[in-house]
């Protein structure tokens, strides 16, 4: 189920990138795709009836879901954040340079 949700989210992200003309929306769509993929990664590690992979008083003995995807997702999230921040900074500059975030107006401005 979560697989489907994440895939649909990817689809929505792609749809957003394709159909929108505002660069900020592109960036958001990119973030959406990132998130969807992260969701997918986490869900590949889930095992029915198992618990979070932390040894604690409640789960002293290993009966855990796959912890590796969770670790990977942590990395992926942070990387996504970095890219997002860069994109946002560039958007500020684009706005400053062209006065707009609309793709078509920018292309007109470039010529």
């Amino acid at each position: 189920m979560i697989y489907y949700i994440s895939i649909i989210l990817i689809g929505i992200g792609v749809y957003g990138l394709l159909s929108q003309k505002n660069l900020f929306k592109h960036l958001i769509s990119l973030a959406l795709i990132d998130t969807a993929i992260n969701l997918f990664i986490v869900s590949t590690g889930y095992i029915n009836g198992k618990e979070a992979p932390i040894y604690s008083e409640f789960t002293p003995i290993a009966n855990f879901v796959d912890p590796l995807p969770q670790a990977l997702v942590l990395t992926a999230i942070v990387i996504g954040v970095g890219v997002l921040a860069l994109g946002a900074a560039m958007l500020i500059k684009i706005k400053e340079k062209y006065g707009t975030l609309n793709v078509e107006e920018i292309r007109r401005g470039d010529k």
């Binding site: 792609v14 929108q20 660069l23 793709v103």
Partner: protein, 609 residues
């Protein structure tokens, strides 16, 4: 041979340095190198081979000295030496002299390298060096020479890459690149493979010698390249094409490889003959139209290359000899013509026929060079050009190839038309007022031109020496050698004696001269004193018929299909595609990038899942 090539390549750097110091010394050094290699050509023993380094691992490059390489080497060095002599004065007005000289020396070196090459890859390497530097030389000419150089480069590269493709097909199949070995192996080849290989190899020759359909570069390139270099281009570089054609039809034994059709000509050679026919027609008809004299001769080159190709492709003892001899004659004649043009342009700064006139009164020796050049080019006895044309005619008629013969006749008679146009427009007729002060060119420009005149006349009267070389080549290539003596050329359908013809011409001329001297002397009147039906002439510039000389004839084929336009269309098409790609793939918005991204994903998935 590798020693000679090494000397030439190193020497060319020396030439560069010397030219930077003093350009006359540089030119002299260049001449020295060329004369030295000319001397060395006679000292080499035919049949020797040397191995040099190669670019393919585990494979030595080889240099082989054959009769063929000797023959072509001599042609190219005669051309080179005469043009270098010409440069002693001519170079004064050229920019970048050092580079010019350097490139020329490199071109001569690599041209010899091509002729010496014993394997296909070494040949290609020298070929490309020659190409590169000739392109760089071409663009040193007039304004539009930059574009012309690119045109030349593109078409030459099409040819040479097709050649390289064939080289690798052979390498892949036989594991060797040595021509001798390949020839042995390909003779027994039965598949379509040999067709592909030979057509691709021929493409290089076709592109270089300006045969249809790769002839389009000649007009612009020769029209706009530096004037002295046009001579090299016509005399030296286009003969590389002829060499390549010899390689295609004779060194690769087309007689053994292909079934023989009508007239005892291999079926592959018929393809070439058809191309040669088309070239003759196109070259002739287009040359008649040109107003720029260099472009005019450029088209004549197309036509003459057609003759060479037809002669070679017949693979008959007399036709093949005719092709080779025609290569020789055309080299010499076109160098004479281009040098005389260079002399004219040197003085008048224009190459448009209708901007000149009456220059014979100012530059008589240049005129004589041109006159002898065109007589040889048009194939009129007693110059050597006729001998080769005669041989080609004879073989075509003997074999009953009437259509080809008709094309050859049209080209031959048509050449009277086009060579006469500069003669009438530039040298004869009324002198333009702006050219009143033009002088004959300096002595060092005249010397090579007049020497070439002597050579042409000499070989027109006594073609024996050249024919000896040609028969040696024919023997080497397992073609029956041409029967001849010093002055008599024999064929199965008759013979003729060059010396008799020349003697009779001399006798006739003397008779005419006696008559001329016997009868009362005429009064010399200026050209401006004309029969004008009683009208008074006020502008002699207008009294000169040179614009659209053959307008009435051109009218017959005004609307002709043009390969050049076709290629231009291709070029434009590519550029439009480039623009399209740039627009839709490379300068697009992020959405478009993702669109292509997704489409690739969908496509791969759809095709491969």
């Amino acid at each position: 041979m590798s020693q000679l090539l090494l000397i030439l390549f190193i020497g060319s750097f020396l030439v560069y340095l010397l030219t930077r110091m003093n350009w006359i010394i540089g030119v002299l050094a260049n001449i020295g190198l060329a004369i030295y290699s000319f001397y060395r050509l006679f000292t080499f023993k035919v049949g020797t081979s040397e191995s040099i380094f190669s670019l393919i691992v585990n494979q030595n490059g080889t240099l082989v000295y054959s009769e063929l390489s000797k023959f072509f080497g001599i042609i190219s060095l005669i051309v080179a030496i005469s043009v270098y002599f010409f440069l002693i004065n001519w170079l004064e007005k050229q920019k970048n002299r050092a580079v010019f000289n350097f490139f020329l020396a490199l071109i001569t070196a690599s041209t010899l390298g091509v002729f010496f090459s014993g394997d296909l890859l070494t040949l290609y390497i020298f070929w490309e060096i020659m190409l590169l530097f000739s392109v760089l030389l071409v663009q040193m000419g007039k304004e539009d020479s930059k574009k012309a150089a690119l045109n030349y480069l593109t078409i030459s590269l099409i040819g040479s890459y097709m050649y390289l493709y064939a080289v690798f097909m052979l390498w892949n199949r036989y594991g060797t690149l040595v021509i001798k070995d390949i020839v042995q192996k390909i003779s027994v080849e039965t598949s379509i493979f040999k067709w592909a290989v030979l057509i691709l190899i021929a493409a290089a020759g076709i592109a270089k010698s300006g045969i249809f359909p790769l002839h389009t570069w000649l007009r612009t390139t020769q029209g706009s390249s530096p004037d002295a270099f046009s001579a090299i281009l016509a005399g030296q570089l286009e003969k590389l094409g002829a060499y390549m054609l010899v390689l295609t039809v004779a060194v690769f034994p087309s007689l053994k490889m292909f079934p023989v059709l009508y007239g005892g000509i291999p079926v592959f050679n018929y393809v070439l003959i058809v191309l040669g026919m088309i070239s003759i027609l196109i070259g002739t008809l287009m040359a008649i139209k040109q107003n720029d004299m260099k472009m005019l001769i450029a088209y004549s080159t197309v036509s003459n290359s057609g003759y060479i190709l037809i002669g070679l492709a017949t693979m008959d003892k007399i036709g093949f000899a005719g092709g080779l001899f025609h290569a020789f004659n055309h080299a010499i004649a076109s160098v004479m013509i281009f040098l005389s043009f260079a002399a004219v342009i040197y003085r008048t700064k224009t190459s448009k026929i209708d901007e000149m006139g009456g220059l014979i009164w100012k530059m008589p020796l240049t005129f004589i060079t041109y006159l002898v050049g065109i007589i040889s080019l048009a194939g009129i006895p007693p110059m050597s050009g006729f001998i080769s044309k005669w041989m080609i005619f004879v073989v075509l008629v003997k074999k009953g190839m009437f259509l080809t013969a008709a094309a050859a006749f049209i080209g031959s008679v048509g050449s009277f038309l086009y060579v006469f146009r500069p003669l009438a427009g530039v040298f004869l007729g009324q002198l333009k007022s702006k050219h009143k002060d033009v002088k004959e060119v300096p002595i060092f420009m005249l010397i090579p031109m007049l020497v070439l005149v002597v050579i042409t006349v000499f070989f027109g009267v006594i073609p024996g020496p050249v024919l000896n070389m040609i028969t040696a080549v024919e023997k080497e290539l397992n073609i029956q050698p041409l029967e001849h003596t010093m002055t008599v050329i024999k064929s199965s359908v008759g013979q003729w004696n060059t010396l008799t013809v020349f003697t009779m011409f001399a006798v006739g001329f003397i008779i005419a001269f006696i008559l001329y001297m016997v009868f009362p002397k005429a009064k010399r009147i200026p050209l401006t004193n004309q029969y004008t039906a009683g009208e008074f002439l006020y502008n002699y510039d207008l009294y000169h018929y040179s614009t659209r000389f053959y307008a009435f004839f051109e009218r017959l084929y005004e609307k002709h299909p043009s390969v050049e336009k076709l290629y231009e269309m291709f070029g434009k098409f590519f550029k439009d595609i480039g623009e399209f790609l740039n627009r839709w793939f490379y300068s697009a918005s992020p959405s478009a990038y993702l669109l292509w991204f997704s489409i690739v994903l969908l496509a791969i998935f759809w095709v491969r899942w």
